[in-house]
Amino acid sequence: MSETAAQVADTLAVKPIDQAVDQPITAADGTPLKVALARATRKAKWRAFVLVLPLLLFVLITFAIPIVEMLTRSFYNDAFSANMPNLVAYFEDNEIESVPDEAGFAALAADLKQARENKTIGVVATRVNYEVPGSRSQFTSAARKTKKLEPPFKEAIIALDEDWNDVRLWNVMQRASNPISASFYLAATDRRYDENGDKVWVDKKRRIYIKLFVNTLLLSLGIALICLVLAFPVAHLLATLPLRYSNLLMIFVLLPFWTSLLVRTTAWIALLQSQGVFNDMLVGTGIIGDESRMQLMYNMQGTVIAMTHILLPFMILPLYSVMKTIPPTYVRAARSLGATSWTAFWKVYFPQTVPGIGAGVLLVFILAVGYYITPALVGGSTGQLISNLIAFHMLKSLNWSMAAALGAILLFIILVLYWLYDKLIGIDNMKLG
């Protein structure tokens, strides 16, 4: 930048004029100019980098590291391996192909007894239950009865519950004895390991995650497209009106942009709930009967309407900034050359707005895919997005590994979109307000 250029200029200025031509050009202190330039550039690079460094470290500590650490939970879970030492040792020496013999059950009995005493049986049972639904009680009730267990353990334990004689359970335990596994990613994509260790789909009734990912993407795309349809005429109007009008109308766009997300969500609840303003208006004017009030909130419609409203400014602003740069003379020229107003719009004006459309659609889409608050408040059970399920596993079911696996997949999708945005539009071109 400026200093570099200035320094180079300085060094050039003090160079003796009568220097031999075949000698390398040197700076004032005698170093070759190439080296001096490289040094100056390096120094300038460092100076720029040092300015960014504090923030970089800050963001690494409060953002990047926590997320990376969270993601490790998606494949690392030592709930079983840390609490069932005998079985871990047994599994190291024995590959499970069928239900094990007495040695395996003796290890199980010893571990159950220990886990009961250490009060870690719940953690162990929960871990196995993630992969064998319904096995939790099998573990806790067996642990409760370990004191009375006597050898031979195999008969005794199977007598407690026939399910201990299931090879799939033993397979799962063997896999869980290694803290690193892909089980949670499988579960997050509606699959599991079967008794042979092959990946298979889970029971049809339990397949929810892929569908939810697809739903989230479709819903976000839908919202982005609705936003585009709504934003296009408005942005066009703002871009073509004289400044004093458009500045006034811009307030209509910026006010929602600056208003709290929760305020806007509350407003929509007040407006759309079945006893709300909108339904009251319809009933009051006799358009619908009091019995047939519309259910616009607490379902997918609620999510779509509220999110469209919240994200619309993110579509209008980039569109507007692109449209503003399109000279109105182009359309006028097309018209004067005989184009109909439609042809002039479609063939001349519209193609020039495509960068704005790309920026807006992609931004709205990215933001929508990760939405949590609005669907949680107005989405009911049909308007939930993948973020809500991550929150569910974090706050309600406390299956944190599952939350991490779902989060990793979501993050991956977002990063691909973000990369795309950077490639197509460039993050430096992101504008606010």
Partner: protein, 362 residues
């Protein structure tokens, strides 16, 4: 002059506050919010603060068992006392997430009966002490129902006869039992049916018949609000919340006691609570005969001590007799089901998972 007086009083009170806070402790108690937390504030927190000078920091959750489990497992516990359901108390205790409670420190009844004998059977466990008996019921707004009033759980599921939305808690517990009873299972057989895969499916199928009409609630304060706003025609609810809205706020709500599901709420201390000693002191204080009876004058939940029953009198409006509104009143108990805590302690996570899969699968 006046300003000066104000100045001195403020300074003095500030000094007193600083001085007392140096000696007095502070505990964080987590409960279920709304009318229920209010009843505990009036019956437990305020008198305790007045008597001991300690401070209770009251916080709420949809179900305190979940956040305390999360806190203990993540290793940053900030809650000292939590009010949790029976099955959760058993489960969390089994998993080593709760501190054990020394039951011998619980005060005896006024007549000298030892605490262990005075509490209703099962109300004291290794890690938790019950304070109330409550129940899940369903309720409706009588001003919105024309014709026969609903009387059974089957009516709750009959959207043809009683059109309108239904409020239900977004959880498997209680909903599954109620669905089976509505489907014709006798209360006594509910848990043996629910033990089986087919039974679970039957409950889910029954709920599926009205799935499109269900509005799901999570916090206990929501159902009375949903009823009051006219968002639902009927809703399942915690009985005390409906009572407080109906009697306390004169809302035309009626409780249907058919197939009510009884449960305890217990006080427990999460493992590693920052103020464990004080937390234990608080539990001892709050679960004394007189305090439990006092709570019953703020909300229609039965005290967990037998000796408290006789002290229960009028609601705080000064005219409503509490006894007939209690879930344990004989008239309300005819078709009641007592929550099988062992069943839920073992099966809650599985059934919740199935319930959620069902919820998301359209």
């Amino acid at each position: 002059m006046k300003l000066k007086t104000l100045f001195t009083t403020t300074a003095v009170s500030a000094a007193v506050m600083v001085a007392s806070s140096a000696m007095a402790g502070e505990i964080t108690v987590m409960s279920w919010g709304g009318a229920y937390t209010k009843s505990q504030t009036e019956a437990y927190y305020k008198p305790w603060e007045a008597e001991t000078g300690h401070k209770v920091n009251s916080v709420d959750s949809d179900n305190p068992a979940t956040p305390i489990k999360a806190q203990v497992e993540a290793g940053n516990v900030s809650i000292d006392v939590a009010d949790i359901e029976y099955s959760d108390a058993i489960r969390l205790c089994d998993e080593g997430l709760l501190e054990e409670i020394d039951t011998s420190s619980l005060p005896a009844a006024p007549d000298g009966t030892a605490a262990t004998a005075d509490f209703i059977e099962g109300a004291i466990t290794d890690c938790a002490v019950a304070n109330i008996v409550w129940s899940t019921v369903f309720a409706y707004d009588s001003s919105k129902i024309s014709g026969d009033a609903p009387t059974t759980l089957a009516d709750f599921y009959d959207t043809a006869k009683y059109p309108g939305k239904r409020g239900m808690r977004k959880a498997a517990k209680a909903n599954m039992e109620m669905a089976l009873i509505a489907d014709g299972v006798a209360p006594a057989d509910v848990y043996s049916v629910l033990e089986t895969e087919e039974g679970v499916q039957r409950a889910l199928d029954k709920m599926a018949t009205i799935k499109d009409d269900i509005i799901w609630w999570e916090a206990g304060a929501q159902p009375p609000q949903l009823l009051a706003d006219g968002e639902v025609a009927m809703t399942t609810a915690y009985n005390g919340r409906i009572f407080n809205a109906a009697i306390g706020e004169d809302k035309p709500f009626e409780i249907v006691w058919d197939g009510q599901i009884l449960d305890f709420d217990l006080y427990a201390v999460p493992k590693g609570a920052p103020n464990k000693e004080l937390a234990m002191e608080f539990i001892t204080y709050a679960t004394a005969t007189e305090r439990l009876a006092a709570q019953a004058s703020w909300i229609a939940y039965g005290p967990a001590r037998k000796s408290s029953a006789d002290l229960v009198g009028l609601f705080n409006d000064g005219k409503t007799e509490m006894a007939p509104h209690m879930p344990t009143a004989p008239a309300n108990m005819k078709t009641a089901l007592v929550n099988n805590y062992e069943f839920w302690a073992d099966r809650d996570s599985e059934l919740s998972e199935q319930f959620n899969a069902w919820l998301l699968a359209n």
